[in-house]
């Protein structure tokens, strides 16, 4: 087993993902403790070399192949498995994004290598890696140890690396399997932009599962109307079709930073918090006093949202009509 800390550099449409700087910053720190190097892995179809030399790493392994023109899980797994077997790092860091969810588990199973998912902290303690993981929808943290392995890391868990680096860029020959994939990339589709842009709104009244049904969304709409804001939603509400997908806040939706965010019946799964925790003023209404949403809210109440929303709407309407 080596001492290096490997980081998969995620990128889309020619741009390096924010996670790369966060993971590389941590990798440098951990490599300091293991006596190894922070090694970035960049899989690309030609544009990567200019980006490679700017990465905050000690070394960059650059693999160029047309299969990496877009993210194809199969191609990435083939390349990473070969690299991990060859380099035998102490730890491999992958962002817990769609890409990471596709790769980390597959590599773990194929290589019988331990995996910590939903990782929010990492340290080296003597001979072992100590990792903290968010489980049970963020209600509990698990502190685990592993001799070596893979960690899929939650966005924002670590501050981005400061400054660039002067990494040694090493070209790695493309793996044979990349020419015979069972997957084909058909296309990338950008989101429709016909609906409101919730990232540009100052006031969001956001509804979650606790709103109970599509017919109750109106209660939030009335408050939004009174405040001059718009209604947004957590994932289950968008999935159920009660509000359009364009209104979804969170990891797979939009990241929002409004001046006011009122979370109604939203428990606050880590994926949701990732998209709204930087709002200026957060008010949470949820009957479960242990709901993680209260960890990020500034003010909260466990009173029933079906009582609070109409009462609050009435107050705001009264205030605006007086003014």
């Amino acid at each position: 087993m080596g001492n290096d800390i490997l980081v998969l550099v995620e990128h889309h449409a020619g741009a390096v993902h924010d996670s790369a700087a966060e993971l590389l910053g941590k990798a440098r720190e951990l490599a300091g403790a293991t006596g190894g190097q922070a090694v970035a892995v960049l899989l690309h179809d030609g544009w990567g070399d200019t980006h490679a030399s700017a990465l905050p790493a000690d070394r960059v392994l650059s693999v160029e192949h047309t299969a990496f023109a877009n993210f194809l899980p199969e191609a990435y797994v083939i390349a990473l498995e070969a690299i991990l077997r060859d380099r035998d790092p102490r730890l491999t860091l992958i962002a817990n994004t769609t890409v990471g969810m596709d790769l980390a588990g597959s590599l773990s199973a194929r290589m019988s290598s331990p995996l910590v998912a939903y990782c929010v902290d990492l340290a080296i303690d003597g001979d072992v890696v100590v990792a903290t993981s968010q489980v049970f929808g963020g209600k509990l943290n698990a502190e685990v140890e592993l001799p070596s392995g893979i960690a899929s890391v939650v966005a924002g868990a670590f501050p981005p690396a400061e400054g660039g680096g002067a990494p040694e860029v090493e070209a790695v020959a493309p793996m044979a399997g990349l020419d015979s994939l069972s997957m084909t990339f058909l296309g990338r589709i950008e989101p429709e932009t016909s609906d409101v842009d919730i990232t540009a709104e100052e006031i969001l009244i956001s509804v979650g599962r606790g709103i109970g049904g599509e017919e109750n969304v109106e209660l939030a709409q009335e408050l939004a109307d009174a405040l001059g804001g718009v209604v947004s939603a957590s994932r289950p509400v968008a999935d159920a079709g009660w509000l359009p997908k364009t209104r979804q806040v969170g990891k797979s939706g939009r990241k929002v930073t409004p001046r006011l965010y009122i979370a109604c019946g939203i428990s606050g799964a880590p994926e949701h918090l990732e998209g709204m925790r930087d709002a200026e003023l957060i008010i949470a209404i949820n009957t479960d006093e242990k709901a993680p949403i209260f960890d990020v809210a500034h003010f909260g109440t466990t009173e029933d949202l079906f009582d609070i929303l109409p009462a609050l709407t009435e107050r705001i309407e009264a205030a605006t009509s007086v003014a």
């Binding site: 509990l140 939009r254 006011l260």
Partner: protein
């Protein structure tokens, strides 16, 4: 096309989670278990594929976990063709690696064209079952799918990324797909129809293969409730009082427009 949908019973997160004496696992004995919501999405997507025709059949498979019969019979009532329960002692919980190893052995013998499985569950400390299963089976996989549709000799998977961007990927040959959301909300089935399914039986019971192998390689030091980073100021009183306080807080920030 033969679709296999593994279904997992998971802790109902609405409940308060208590830790065991060692602080290394949750106390499972008195908890309520429900069908993993993402597996229900995978089942819905499988049923939509079946309804699209072409002789597609759907097999659901579950480990003998608390209330799994309810989940499997509900799947039959919704339209699954076959339900398999793998008997064994799973009450103490098992890791995703152990679950994937059991499923790999069984699914390997079911001649599945596609495995649709929930993209995650709340207990995936050592990774998500679907992608581990794909790794063990040596099959390609796509995670975070929001649509799976027939395409040439295989399927077209719509894979979701952040900020509403999606990719479309064609997959030929047997594959595993981790479903985030079905193309429509999971269908409702009346309890009377679940009872009907229970009365007509049809649950196949098989012994689960040995799961004592690779458990994932993690040693749990402790579980703990995360410290609250900025605990909310909780407002109490009746709804009118609270609404009044909130209106004031919002007004103080200059957010109430005349």
């Amino acid at each position: 096309m033969h679709i296999v949908v593994p279904m997992k019973q998971t802790v109902d997160l609405v409940e308060e989670l208590e830790l065991n004496d060692e602080g290394t696992d949750i106390e499972r004995e008195y908890l309520t278990f429900v069908s993993n919501e993402w597996d229900e999405q995978a089942l819905e997507e499988a049923l939509l594929l079946k309804e699209a025709g072409g002789g597609t059949t759907v097999t659901v498979i579950g480990l003998d976990e608390t209330d799994v019969d309810q989940t499997l019979f509900a799947a039959l009532a919704k339209g699954a063709d076959r339900a398999i329960k793998l008997s064994g002692d799973f009450e103490g919980g098992i890791t995703s690696h152990q679950r994937a190893a059991i499923l790999a052995e069984v699914v390997g013998g079911l001649d599945a064209d596609v495995v649709l499985i929930g993209v995650q569950s709340p207990e995936d400390l050592d990774g998500q079952t679907g992608v581990l299963l794909a790794g063990l089976l040596g099959r390609p996989h796509v995670s975070v799918a929001i649509a799976v549709e027939p395409h040439d000799a295989g399927v077209k998977v719509t894979q979701e990324f952040g900020a509403g961007v999606v990719h479309e990927i064609a997959v030929t040959g047997p594959a595993v797909v981790g479903v985030q959301a079905a193309r429509q909300a999971p269908r409702y089935v009346a309890i009377s129809r679940v009872r009907q399914a229970m009365q007509s039986g049809g649950l196949e019971v098989m012994d689960a293969p040995d799961s004592s192998g690779d458990a994932g390689g993690l040693t749990i030091r402790r579980l703990y409730a995360p410290e609250m980073s900025s605990q909310a100021e909780m407002l109490s009183g009746d709804a009118e009082d609270i609404a009044g306080r909130l209106a004031q807080i919002i007004a103080d920030r200059g957010l109430v427009k005349a």
